[in-house]
Symmetry: D3
Subunit: 291 residues, 6 copies
């Protein structure tokens, strides 16, 4: 179960409110790279954890910390919206294009739907979507999903940091960027503790690799038909990263047949011509429809 | 631009059609772990690629290969639906509970909406969602996103492999599992080629780390108040995985103030009592509303 | 900021695991009546709160409690999924229709995507959607939204209680039902503290009612043209519930004109006939297109 | 079944077309607080109504009226978009920043997708979502859902009223605000007719309250660990609003155990280390993983 | 504005309630081929209509009729759910596999969320989505969109007709199928009235075709590289259907360059190696990265 | 399976980058009228094709071509975003309203989430949705769905063409408009090859029309109660477009009863008053609740 302290994990200060920046901050709240996603992702991973309990414990810790990050960002959005209504009205009624230019980036729902506060949505007002919460039940797959979330999340945070010169906002973002640094390292540490990349990959490592179709598990398939250059790189030669094979490059080629489905079932009510094979007209004898 | 060969990349054979398995296969087509997602993800990463062209080339190759995987799975769904209508009718009209038991897992839209063919949706019929296509413009973040997609994708494929005893389906899945092995390795190879985890982390590695709030970028913050055990682990001591810091464990504590927002703007039409501070009734003198 | 205790707020016990019930419990986690919604709704209301701080404090308390309810339900889902894989395989491979009948209601993603754990989705696997998080910035509108959430939530919980005879599950649901009772009362208590329904309605009470078009704010408009009976009721006579008007019933009738829009702008590329007025053919002289 | 009159329920006039205001009006059409939602909500409640027929009749009436409100707003959007294309082109080609400033708030799909007309979407272009249509089958829960919809809807309408100084638009909104006043009262009138809040709460009132876990149904649970002030209020003392209990404040404390799930099922292909308990490395002896 | 008659447009009778069929009927209510979609589509087309008023009038008529079709189907769903709860309980508690087999196809939300009534969702419980409402402002494009909706809608209705042997349901569906026949014809009649396919195509017919890149507007581009057969057909020879060109078949070939984007902007925080061109390792001299 | 050539199908050149136009182009990528939709729609139709193989072949060809159109547009978006970051910063920090005016239309995620590249989303940032991929299994219904997609797509492309004066962008759009012309004709050609509209309609043509409720399949039902004019037109008189009936106009009238549902099931926990019929208060004797 959960508790709270009314104080924030880190200070949130806005020196010069900016509704357009409030809109941008929403990406870090309700976007796919945002804090609601990581919060729920870590918590659902914890709650569904099977296997060593220590990972459940750790996930619960960081998931709980992330609730406080949503809180910080939601506070930052609200503070950036101070004074927005006056400007918004100027914009809408067209009286002041200079103000309008600044306000142009405001999310209208920040006024209309929330009365100058944050939403569970991204910077375009697209609602948070639960499908982003990845919890596979495989600890390594989950750790990679978490590194992914923290990587795109830290990229986002540095871009937000670049997009503002408000000292308070830069300070808050510098804190969140620092936490993302830690969290990227933290999920990688689990991989290491479990034996490292070579032991953990390919994920899942519990599937017997001799059941894989051999010859394709360490081959780079090239589909390029413009032969000016090859897609050479580390992925096309040398030992594979999991230490269990050797990379090679092979040209793509079809190993399967042309897939032909049986005619439609009558109760599915395709067109009569589909079921009778009566399709085709004046040029039908040009067609070789058989395989 | 793109070309096709009417033959499949690998053979798709269904020995005993099973509509319930057709439904499960949809997860590998239109689910967040599925092939539409990786296909579009690699292609969008290629199309938006900035920096060394070799990565664009490689992404284009694998993105193109993945179209063929959607094709294989869509074919497998259609073949598994053969004969489904007869059984479905039995189920709906209630004449044959034994058949109904098998059919119970069928997606009704496989009959109603597609006439026994695949959809761009997951195993619950939830449509594919473009938000899953991650392409950040940061090559390391994108590679991790790709390892994530291939990890959860391979976990899914092995579970599908476990859920069937149809030899044709097991063979097709063994091919897809092999390709996932390659692709996990492939994306990790880019990280290595760029200098390895230590050079690439934290992502993005172009942000000056001295701008981070120091003291928080390598600290595990514990929020646990039940003191029976600590969340010890590799993430709480020793050098950080990026080689740039030392892990430590610190108790969570608030460094920020209690956030208090100014009163609502009049044109936002909050309740009158919110604007006048008139809230509260008989027990209001118990309340110390000031900080 | 937030803390946690690894123990649950209330005990969660499953005596006889049932994957179909696991699927049903998902509605209480990720459905519109579910706990993720109320959790985020109360927290976002708290974080965006303007006006008396006491309501922010209270919302923060209950929002924090709700995180623990998601945790309880996620645990219940995982426990109900114990043993599901064996049965699932029987179902898919068609060997055992009796088991299949019971398993028929299982969510395939509970195996495929999570490895026997909960998701941030409803009982049909439709992901949680952030649009459900209502926080208007108007304290009375928010309290009603909360009563709404707790009412449909308690209805759901009682239906889940009816759908199981597992003593552990019934006990857990009896706890959640009790909390919903409290929370319904709690939000109504704010309305009372603020002066009661008559003072708070119509919401928002800060809009000057003399700006409303008079004659329509307390009139029940009937659109029924089948005159066998009238829609009489408390809403059609007597004083209005807000004490500011008198209900009356009036027949619906158009007070506006037929809306006719100007022709399309050329750069919008409607059909030529739309822009030239050349539409219509042999029977066009029957048409009186003017108003 | 349904009929129409080509004239509008109330006059819609736009004196000075404003594409940015057209965008804002979309919130009242296709947003969660909008008219499509209430229209479908009342109609689905009517169509699914069980119990006294009089409520079905009434819901059908108001649901039908709401169709006409969508019509009024869609007309208002189209009229506000008059002249938008010329300005839009100036904006896009960058010739006229002053015009661009005003146009900055235009929804691009109002030109691109509809040719200057309304969409079934909110003010950010997010499509209307059927999940918002609440019809629980419990008359009291539904009435509260309706008061909720009309409360947030009226808050929205008053904000739109503030955001424009177009006399025609202000007039139309004053009509819609009046109707929202009536509808809030109307749904409350049903609660009163059914015996009032005390008889109807807690919702559902048909669940035997002795089945609730006693001691929690009228207790405010505090999760606050920062002891500067208590969350006192009407909800923490005195008789409960439903008249069936007495409010008290209790500290949050865990009554459940630490939830530990069994190891993963083999066919779910978690990592090998999860199934063998082999996780952990050099510092594993610090870990007390048992409860 | 709109009116209603409490009686249905056509009789709805269910002889033998079947919850699984109730679930299937949802596709016709809230699916992309369903009645909410056509209802809103025709109404939004009417409300946004520009050009000859007669089409607005007609669209308003049929849009209004469709509300009554949603009503009929919602009633049919509710009637099919009669008796479902008893069976559902049997299913969930596992007492009766035969009943469970029949109930297996029930939508759990039909009990949990609506209390045995219809939802604004499809047969998988996926909510209706406003993006399906197509109203382009181009009368011909809209008519084709309407033929599309009625075609897939009639296919759906005939499949539902096949899936039941309940006389009442078959009768209701026969009525809806008849209406779909009319509506398909109706939208085609507008095309004819406007001059027929040749005058209306290509849509929009107001764009000057000499602005098209010539040589590509009537050419079938083949991307097939497996030369066993050509994709001959009516589309590859003879006059085009709009009478304005002649079909020909041409091989696909690239007319554009390899697209190379400039390096990332520094404030976007790509990896350092992307900005410095330092990517690549031991085999980098094999790479010819220039075009 | 699929192959690619690194060169584009047609040249993509941006003379003057414009981030606001980049945002508009997104509609042609990830909108309902966009290229991801047609690409997947044709491919899924091909993969699920039953009946004459020639149509599968053809669909595969054009679906493959469309991948290259997404590629062209994604490239165009990236090129239009060149230089956007500098301007964006000016906008956000408010230093330069003139630049801000131009930038006002930029999608913030083009910087925040992609680092100046395209997304799988529409011009409002709403993600691509797999529900738009229509593949019914009925060849005629699918062809009409395709004409629909290409019609609204070509309308969109001509509007984009109008919204820019960049010569490179106009050229690229002229190519895409030309391809849309071809594709509209192409799908109509299938209808003709199959015998033409009269043979193919009503869709599906395999349903026995004598099973339709006669008298309603060629009747225009008028719901208009404002008798100033009739909705005369081609759809109200003369032979039907499928040649199988004669249009007539009939007034709407109810043929069904008032639908009354049985009382709620006890385990659904409606309010007690719904189940006992105890609803209604002081004016209940005015109510004639029976039919």
């Amino acid at each position: 179960m959960f508790y709270h302290d009314r104080r924030l994990q880190y200070k949130v200060r806005v020196d010069k409110p900016n509704p357009a920046f409030a809109k941008m901050l929403q990406q870090a709240i309700g976007g796919i790279e945002g804090e609601i996603r990581v919060c729920l992702q870590y918590l659902f991973q914890a709650w569904g954890n099977r296997g060593p309990v220590k990972y459940k414990n750790m996930l619960l810790e960081t998931g709980t910390e992330e609730i406080g990050h949503i809180e910080m960002l939601a506070t930052a959005v609200a503070l950036n919206l101070e004074g927005a209504t006056t400007s918004l009205k100027d914009q809408i009624v067209g009286a002041n294009p200079v103000v309008g230019a600044v306000m142009g980036g405001m999310d209208p729902r920040h006024f209309l739907s929330t009365g100058l506060a944050a939403m569970a949505a991204d910077s375009n007002g697209v609602p948070f979507n639960g499908s982003w919460v990845v919890a596979t039940g495989n600890i390594a797959a989950d750790m990679i999903a978490n590194v992914n979330a923290e990587s795109s999340g830290r990229v986002l945070a540095t871009r937000l940091w670049e997009a503002t010169d408000d000292p308070g906002m830069k300070d808050m973002l510098s804190f969140l960027i620092a936490r993302d640094t830690m969290h990227q390292n933290q999920w990688l540490a689990v991989i290491e503790e479990l034996g490292g990349l070579k032991q953990q990959f390919p994920i899942p490592n519990s599937f017997p690799q001799n059941e894989e179709v051999q010859g394709f598990n360490y081959s780079f398939v090239t589909t390029n038909i413009y032969k000016d250059q090859e897609a050479f790189g580390r992925w096309a030669e040398g030992p594979s990263m999991d230490g269990k094979g050797t990379f090679q490059m092979v040209p793509g080629e079809p190993l399967g047949d042309i897939p032909i489905l049986p005619p439609p079932a009558p109760e599915g009510h395709a067109q009569t011509e589909q079921m009778t094979g009566a399709a085709g007209g004046g040029i039908v004898d040009k067609i070789k429809d058989a395989l």
